[in-house]
Subunit: 193 residues, 2 copies
DNA sequence: GTAATTTCTTAATGTACATTATTTTTCTCT
DNA sequence: AGAGAAAAATAATGTACATTAAGAAATTAC
């Protein structure tokens, strides 16, 4: 059923009995999203953490030149949100938008806080989740500094194989930190080899 | 005394009674480092997490062109290590080196694992530590993509005000992802304004 | 305390990627 | 299905930063 995926995601790191599972699920909300629907805008307070069960979200900023920078794509089975705003309840810096028709489960901030009281095991779950997330962010920071655009594109393809033909090159370019024109050039050059 | 700083660091997020403090401290080792001393090299297994009590470490990689990329500086009161290697016990990707005479406390991997059994509160400590660390890494990834070198230098000065005149420009350049020559130019230009 | 080494500065030239503009192709909406 | 909008391709020109080189200044080492 609907909650199978998220329970399986959690069971990677901690075991929940039936009662705990029911309690956990009772803390979630859900939402169906049309393509282009926006979940969060800069300046708003992030009230939710998101778990994608279908479709794809993008988490991005728009800089002072109007250029879009995509921090991550949240596909099925991925967590996302503006963590800084969610935790501190200060204004968000990120947009979160569906780039396909999507379905998400939402963990409201007040329930997230409650979770650690009700089921302290979740300290462990998030300890491990954040730990792994940190490892992959450290890796990406390193890649952004040490790889050129072509190699970053190859890394993108490794990390998100399902997205290659599913999303626009414009979005891929905004994730890589290059212009769509340059990505177009790169792809042409790469198919010639 | 010697452990005041680290206990204070921990008490930001959890409260430990005397017994827990003593147990925690019994799990630590300590080490005095000469400038240039290396704590970890790529290919080795990261056996420790480090807490700097004095001096400064750099955590860095050397890419296939021989260019050094500094992921972070670990000054007094900062945690550091090759997290991926420490967690998975796979070969490290990073060098860790003292860039000043330094002192560190070490948490060995086997004691780190033990810690969560002995004092489950540490799940919470690391949950919050990784959460905050994640927030600052997300911010740096974003800055590396959206800011030019001059603005990244200003961010560096904000993040590590104490390092401005303490470490070489070569190290600062390797942190910013530019050549020392270009940083020299930038600084000249910035003082003229 | 002086030689050797490393770091810093300055400058000329080179390159990866941006910008702008135009055309072609694909997607979206009714 | 067809009109309008958005995305992609191509190409000319521009710019932030890299590379190379050489001399000056600072640091390290014996």
């Amino acid at each position: 059923m609907k909650y199978e995926l998220i329970l399986k995601n959690i069971s990677r790191f901690i075991d929940l009995n039936q009662e705990e599972q029911d309690l956990y699920i009772s803390l979630l909300k859900e939402k169906t999203l049309k393509k282009k629907e926006i979940l969060l805008r800069p300046g708003e307070i992030a009230r939710y953490d998101y778990f994608t069960t279908k479709g794809c979200l993008k988490i991005y900023t728009i800089d002072e030149n109007g250029t879009e920078h995509i921090a991550m794509f949240a596909i099925k089975d991925w967590w996302s949100g503006d963590l800084a705003s969610f935790i501190t309840q200060q204004p968000a810096k990120y947009f979160i938008q569906a780039i396909e028709d999507s379905e998400v489960l939402l963990m409201p901030k007040e329930n997230y806080d409650l979770l650690f009281e009700k089921i302290p095991k979740f300290e462990r779950f998030y300890r491990i989740l954040y730990q792994r997330s940190l490892v992959s962010h450290i890796q990406r920071s390193d890649q952004n500094i040490s790889l050129n655009a072509e190699d970053r594109y190859r890394e993108f393809l490794k990390k998100y194989p399902s997205l290659r033909n599913r999303i626009s090159q414009k979005n891929i370019a905004a994730y890589l930190g290059v212009t769509p024109e340059f990505l177009s050039l790169l792809r042409k050059k790469m198919t010639l080899l």
